[in-house]
């Protein structure tokens, strides 16, 4: 297993370098940080702008290869350069990574788990009311883009807040002002954070859930009629135990591969959710930086996304290896 993972890691390293370079080259050609200076009133002299841009390695007069090499050398040292305003990108990247992580983690886990369970349940109840209901729900979710979903959830939450007269849901930012200064102190602050997490987490979870649910359902249908589930029943297992211990356990294996595929989609969904719910995470930063023409931020976030997607691939490989003994032994030379 270790050898197999090492080999995968080596492959991934190559892919990350490629993805990051392409992202940088695209950002450096498409974005124009010079425009930010030219729009200033009073407009600074060209020499000053050139000097500032050169200092930041953003000068479009300098050949692209040269800028790329400077940037690449920095990245290798762990330095993603500076924003056009001169702030170091790396520190901000880490800070915002944690924000995004707080947002995505709960949503992903809840979406995967619920999706798998609902899908499996729908398969067991195939062609009956629960299956039809789940199928209808997941198709509705699949056809609603994340931003529509988010806005719908927000207006629903507003209704609930109006009806109950209590602020059950909050949906702006990570925390409300002064929450930890209330009667419950730090605990109140935590409660407030959780309250702020509810809606964005639900948005991400629902979008994920629909995908997993459909896929798990079809996987499960294959397994339900499998001979080994019949064998388990012939051993005297009740239907539910046979399906859970033998069926679901086997039907989970292909889901691990699916996890890697949907991770990119998840990141994209995260961008919308951050923007809509006012979270100052990576997604929001990326969008803002593209409008500002901030080459280094765009390259850094893209590089991070590439790493994240490949790490998701690695996680899915590990899960696959853990769940499927046929892969484990197949690796032994």
């Amino acid at each position: 297993m270790a050898g197999f993972l090492l080999r995968r890691l080596a492959n991934y390293a190559v892919l990350v370098v490629l993805a990051a370079s392409l992202a940088y080259l695209l950002a450096a050609t498409a974005l124009h940080p010079r425009a930010n200076f030219e729009d200033r009133v009073p407009r600074p002299p060209d020499a000053v702008v050139d000097a500032e841009l050169s200092r930041l390695n953003l000068n479009d007069e300098v050949p692209l290869t040269e800028r790329y090499l400077t940037w690449g050398a920095g990245v290798l040292r762990g330095d993603f350069g500076r924003t056009w305003q001169g702030e170091p990108v790396t520190a901000e990247l880490w800070r915002r990574t944690w924000v995004s992580l707080r947002l995505l983690l709960a949503g992903t886990v809840a979406g995967c788990a619920l999706g798998v369970l609902l899908g499996a349940y729908a398969a067991v109840r195939q062609h009956r009311a629960p299956d039809r209901l789940i199928t209808l729900g997941s198709y509705l979710l699949l056809s609603a883009p994340v931003f529509v979903l988010a806005v719908l959830l927000q207006s629903a939450a507003q209704k609930v807040n109006d009806v109950t007269g209590v602020q059950v849901f909050e949906w702006l930012g990570e925390t409300g002002p002064g929450a930890s200064e209330g009667t419950f102190g730090a605990l109140g602050g935590l409660g407030d954070r959780v309250r702020h997490l509810l809606l964005p987490t639900a948005t991400i979870a629902l979008a994920q859930l629909a995908l997993y649910c459909r896929y798990q359902r079809s996987m499960m249908l294959d397994v339900l009629t499998a001979d080994f589930v019949r064998t388990a029943r012939a051993k005297g297992l009740r239907h539910r135990s046979a399906v859970l211990r033998h069926g679901l356990r086997t039907a989970l294996i292909p889901m691990t591969t699916y996890f890697a595929y949907t991770f990119g989609l998840l990141l994209l969904g995260g961008v919308f959710v951050e923007k809509i719910f006012g979270w100052h995470g990576l997604g929001e930063w990326l969008i803002d930086s593209i409008t500002r023409g901030d080459v280094h931020v765009v390259a850094a976030v893209n590089c991070f996304a590439a790493v994240a997607v490949l790490l998701a691939g690695l996680v899915s490989d590990v899960l696959h290896g853990t769940l499927d003994p046929r892969v484990r032994t197949g690796d032994a030379p």
Partner: protein, 696 residues
């Protein structure tokens, strides 16, 4: 369930004429299984089995035998309904809630399924899967159940059971997996075991091993066994009584000796007559023409009547009731009087007169294979792919096929016989050695010459369901090779008609799609397609392995007749030695990529010189209960070895009974030297790759 709490049905064990034995363990009365409305798989089945008794249930695909088994254990798929009565030790099982049935399943009533590859959960170790069976019923601790699982694995003959219990199903061979299934079935000392085609997908040698394990299981548990099989050979030596099923009903039942010696229902007679045999005189098998009725057919008269050579109008009046025809022997036939004394009721097909052919030495060689090698690399390694080993699929074989003759290639699965056939079919330079087709070395062919040569060399595949394009009509399937070789359109239509006639199909089939044909008809289309370009050599890859026994005979006879009429040469690859014997003039036996014996078929079957050939022949079950019971040759031990790691010296040594019986000095030769095929002293036509040939 339906108020028919009747006494034992007409096919129950205590049939008229036998003394009532101990009370039956498993008793099935008037069982009917319906899948969808109108699809009636089982149409009133009665049988019973006593303690320690083995009932063989024989029937072709679609006869309802598996549906009956699943109904008995209450595991029919959703939507299927079972009616009638299934009693285990007097307690009714049908209609009981699933919770109660679950306490019976796997404990008192166990089941062994057909395909051990898909019947075991891939993600749990076999030890855990057996332990689970024990824990579900006995509530044993995990450790105790595991320890018992190891004991069971040891009992069914899995070497190094403690270690192997921690292995996963994919790490076992087919035979070993079936042993695991049997271990699971006997884990809770059941009173009855239903084994649904437990040996169907296995090689003859492994089949003999598994039947032996089933015997051990029976002796250990004293359980009643229902052994379901599709041919009469398998159950002959193992069952006490046999029941033949056709179209959802039992058509004949009785003690094995009686039924095999004096079958009275024409279908049973047909099954026995159509079965090719490895022993005794070589007789032409008699086919049972036609196909069984679909499961939707109405109950109007005897279901076998359309295929029955002695059917009378009254056969179609009502479903014939079973009548006693001997001691404990029942047959559901209104013409039982006509089958008494076993008249030759099926027309014996008359082979076309054999043309006068010059002796073998003077006939031209159509195919010559010399030192043919096909190795597959295995890759492994952590960082870089590197070659970790070699599967020696075909490892230097030599033979020739002359005009108008059949060479049969036999061996266990994985011995390289199909690989060899595919190498010849490629018509390209082999990795090593040479293939010469009609005098032309395939290594030296130009593309144009190769295409021209393909006309003379055609192939028939194993699975007629997979080898015909489901979206093409029969006429297009047959015309395709003609079009590919530029035959004008007008001539093509004519040729299609000729071809259908040649393989015995009615011209109306030209407009049908493959799914509208039965298995035997499809294989006839497959043969017709191969014959379209008037080839001189046919490569036959297991041409009857996917067909029911009664249909096999028809296809084999067709192949034999075509050979006589068209002067074809055949290279026939098959695992069934009895089938090969029917059509082959010469036989080559392969083991681990090598030819271990080659010779004229009659001489080779009569006196096999290589111990492997002898073991293969001994393992073939014959439909002769007396003979099967008399001979108790221990089956060939072990599995076919890993083709990537052949043992030192002779490759067959680890399983060789002759080697095991040798003394030290003579053993050394086997251990150190890989035997080359040589000509034994008595038989100039034979090649044997053994240091000690011909000894018993």
């Amino acid at each position: 369930m339906n108020g028919r709490e009747a006494g034992p049905g007409p096919f129950a064990r205590t049939a008229p004429g036998t003394a009532p034995g101990p009370p039956p363990v498993l008793e099935i009365t008037d069982l009917r299984v319906t899948y969808e409305p109108g699809v009636r798989a089982v149409r009133g089945l009665d049988f019973s089995v006593g303690p320690g008794e083995v009932l063989g249930v024989v029937g072709e695909s679609g006869s309802g035998k598996s549906a009956a088994a699943l109904a008995a254990v209450g595991l029919l798929p959703p939507g299927a309904r079972a009616e009638g009565s299934v009693r285990l030790r007097g307690r009714e099982l049908l209609g009981r809630p699933d919770a109660e049935l679950s306490r019976v399943r796997g404990k008192d009533l166990a089941m062994v399924f057909q395909d051990p590859l898909s019947a075991l959960t891939p993600v749990h170790t076999v030890g855990d899967q057996i332990a689970e069976t024990i824990r579900v019923h006995a509530g044993a601790t995990r450790a105790a159940a595991r320890a018992r699982a190891v004991e069971l694995l040891d009992l069914v003959g899995i070497p190094d059971a403690a270690r192997r219990a921690r292995a996963y199903p994919h790490e076992f061979s087919g035979g070993m997996r079936q042993r695991v299934m049997i271990a699971m079935a006997i884990a809770n000392d059941p009173v009855a075991i239903i084994a649904d085609e437990p040996t169907t997908a296995l090689d003859v040698t492994i089949q003999a091993q598994v039947l032996e394990v089933l015997r051990v299981a029976k002796e250990t548990t004293g359980a009643a066994i229902v052994l379901i099989a599709h041919d009469l050979g398998v159950v002959a030596g193992f069952a006490d009584r046999v029941m033949v099923m056709y179209a959802g009903r039992a058509v004949e039942s009785g003690p094995v000796g009686e039924v095999y010696a004096r079958p009275r229902m024409p279908y049973t007679i047909g099954l026995l007559k159509s079965l090719p045999r490895v022993a005794g005189p070589r007789v032409r098998p008699v086919p049972v023409e036609g196909a069984p009725p679909p499961a939707t057919a109405p109950d109007d008269g005897c279901a076998f009547a359309p295929r029955c050579p002695i059917a009378e109008p009254r056969c179609r009046d009502a479903v014939p009731p079973p009548v006693p025809v001997g001691p404990g022997h029942l047959a559901a036939c209104v013409r039982a009087d006509a089958t008494e004394g076993r008249a030759e009721i099926f027309p014996v097909p008359v082979p076309p007169p054999a043309p006068r052919r010059p002796p073998r030495d003077e006939r031209p060689v159509v195919l010559e294979v010399d030192g043919l090698v096909r190795h597959h690399p295995i890759y492994g390694g952590t960082f870089l792919k590197r070659r970790a080993g070699t599967v020696r699929a075909v490892d230097g074989i030599a033979f020739d096929v002359r005009e108008g003759e059949t060479l049969g290639v036999v061996g266990e699965s994985g011995c390289g016989k199909t690989t060899a056939l595919m190498e010849i079919l490629r018509l390209a330079a082999p990795q090593e050695g040479a293939v010469t087709v009609f005098g032309q070395d395939t290594a030296a062919l130009t593309a144009a010459r190769r295409k021209a040569l393909r006309r003379d060399l055609q192939v028939v595949f194993q699975d007629p369901f997979a080898s015909l394009d489901p979206r093409m009509r029969v006429a297009s399937i047959l015309a395709e090779p003609l079009a590919a070789h530029g035959v004008p359109r007008a001539r093509r239509r004519e040729r299609v008609r000729e071809l259908l006639d040649l393989v015995g199909l009615d011209p109306v089939y030209a407009g049908r799609y493959p799914h509208g044909l039965s298995g035997g008809q499809r294989q006839r289309v497959g043969i017709a397609r191969a014959l379209a370009l008037e080839p001189r050599l046919l490569l036959l890859d297991e041409p009857v392995a996917a067909l029911d026994v009664s249909v096999q005979a028809g296809i084999m006879n067709l192949l034999a007749d075509l050979q006589t009429r068209l002067g074809l040469a055949y290279l026939l690859v098959a695992h069934d030695l009895a089938v090969v014997r029917q059509v082959a003039d010469r036989v080559a036996v392969m083991y681990q990529g090598r030819l271990v014996e080659l010779g004229a078929a009659d001489a080779l079957y009569a006196a096999p010189a290589h111990p492997y050939t002898r073991a293969l022949l001994d393992a073939v079950p014959s439909p002769d209960p007396a003979r099967e019971r008399r001979r108790r040759v221990p089956p060939l031990p072990g599995d076919p070895p890993d083709p990537a790691a052949p043992p030192e010296g002779c490759r067959f040594r680890p399983r060789c009974p002759r080697y095991a019986a040798l003394d030290g000095d003579r053993r050394r030769l086997c251990e150190t030297t890989d035997p080359e095929p040589h000509r034994p002293a008595r038989d100039a036509d034979r090649r044997v790759a053994c240091h000690h040939p011909g000894e018993r």
